[in-house]
Symmetry: C2
Subunit: 320 residues, 2 copies
């Protein structure tokens, strides 16, 4: 049991931005940083540090293409809560990244699939050399063969990366799966800190996160009111309550929810529903379920289920 | 791991009735029974078998005061899915209960607090003598002292009851708590089947249920789309998916959700929200949170939190 060592990384802005296309006001981001700081949350991920010039048709507000000057306006005075940003392979221009001593950011996280771990570690090296804390977040672990994973972890073990994340991108894993996965990472990466990023398709994001912590993970991703793509993430308010009032304060997070998240939730959808649950059950990327929820067929669960279980029947039907 | 031995008891009508004051049409109950039968769910709890004459001002539809003649109209042909009813101590007239061979019901469950286990077992004896399968559901286990529980379980061990339920009434327990509690029940009740009834205040109802099963519980309560008092129950659709397609079919339950539950959910509220989460964190009965949600202050979380953490301040404020 490692609850006292755990650290919370709140990714409301970054993962929640995938819900509302980063439609967050600077005032909201300030209020969130204040709330998380008062709550004692260790890290806040304030967006993506991808480079707009590398993404076609990219126009999604400042949180997707963090700019240091803008960040300094939003967070002129940092608390003990550190700031992190996520980058994707192939979407970041290293020249956009200042040395850490000139940056508002503390931690840069690299998200990649197992096949791209080599490229991911190149980025890690660059950011590490610039002085940042670094993580590598291996996505879609439920779709990875054991030998692929072991080879990737062997490379990671030799890199300077500080934190290695277990990411259940499709929300298909249960606590037993998570426990075994964290045990494997711990065995193959004895000198790295481990992290967990869970999705709530099966209402297991919180349970998986505390299981991961109990198995030795240190970094736990969470988002306020669970805001995150599709079924969302482990809820920051639940994790704070679980890890205890000697370390964290729940009230400032409830204040953010009362004053901001209820309105945001009225405008945007995330969280448990049947199409996301079905995606989780079948260990699929949620993109089809997200498209369904954005269409007029949003509650046609059986048709969606049939598409996933028997695609031929659907093709035949279309051809009628 | 005991997944292959587990049995699902769907309590949508009984526990869900606490949400909508049993405003279920006979057609919906028929559709639910059909769906659960096709899904392979072993038991459906179709309501309370309390006696209207023992409850003051009681007027809450047939599902709260099940009548055999009415039940036969609703379920004229039983499938392999058995029917159960719940009774509360002091609210049931034993003379209302037919012998099992004349009844549509198979299982009668007795809900009681630990202090009432003696009375609960008297009812169990009566129903057992009438030929029913029986359970005793010990509520509010998170508020019970160890020696009280041990004394109660010793009495239960000597009774003819078939199933003994671990009930986390306040939704405050986590998977570790559940594992330890089921282990204790198993140790003290080696000859009884165990059951689990979890609430979703902390988004742990499903995780706690599968933990209970992994620790040896056989009966798992669930409700379709999680419909149940306050934060609701473990979702039947999640449990079916978890226990596997060789035993259960998910599609018929999704059909019930698509055709019925979405409309019901639009009219009535249940499931995770902040007041129920705060109740769970503080291990409190959800009645205050339910009253808040039914009032115009439904989203005033901070005031609610302050009431629970610092009641004196609220009194002082009122006296201003």
């Amino acid at each position: 049991m490692n609850r006292s060592a755990a650290k919370i990384l709140d990714c409301t802005i970054r993962d929640g931005g995938l819900v509302n296309n980063w439609d967050f006001s600077a005032d909201f981001v300030k209020a969130l940083y204040k709330g998380l700081s008062e709550a004692g949350v260790e890290y806040m991920e304030i967006g993506y540090k991808n480079s707009a010039k590398l993404l076609k048709g990219a126009e999604a507000g400042p949180w997707r293409y963090l700019d240091e000057a803008f960040l300094r306006e939003v967070i002129p005075h940092k608390s003990a809560t550190k700031l992190s940003a996520l980058v994707d392979i192939g979407r970041v221009d290293e020249n956009d990244i200042l040395p850490r001593e000139e940056s508002v950011l503390d931690l840069i996280r690299v998200a990649c699939y197992v096949r791209d771990v080599g490229k991911g570690l190149e980025l890690v090296n660059t950011f590490h050399d610039k002085g940042y804390e670094t993580s590598i977040n291996i996505m879609a672990l439920s779709h990875v063969l054991e030998h692929e994973l072991e080879e990737a972890l062997a490379k990671i073990a030799e890199s300077p990366v500080d934190i290695v994340y277990v990411v259940d991108s499709y929300g298909s894993m249960d606590p037993r799966d998570y426990g075994l996965m964290v045990d494997k990472f711990r065995e193959l990466l004895p000198n790295k800190q481990l992290g967990i990023h869970a999705h709530n398709n099966l209402q297991l994001a919180f349970a998986n996160t505390i299981t991961g912590i109990d198995h030795g993970a240190v970094f736990a991703d969470a988002s306020v009111f669970g805001m995150g793509r599709a079924a969302g993430n482990c809820n920051t308010e639940l994790l704070i309550s679980h890890l205890g009032s000697t370390r964290y304060e729940l009230r400032p997070v409830l204040q953010v929810i009362e004053e901001h998240m209820i309105d945001i939730r009225r405008k945007w959808e995330w969280g448990y529903n049947i199409p996301y649950m079905v995606s989780g059950v079948f260990d699929e990327h949620p993109r089809m379920a997200m498209a369904l929820r954005a269409s007029e067929n949003r509650d046609r669960y059986l048709e969606f289920y049939d598409t996933l279980t028997n695609p031929e029947a659907i093709v035949a039907k279309k051809g009628d």
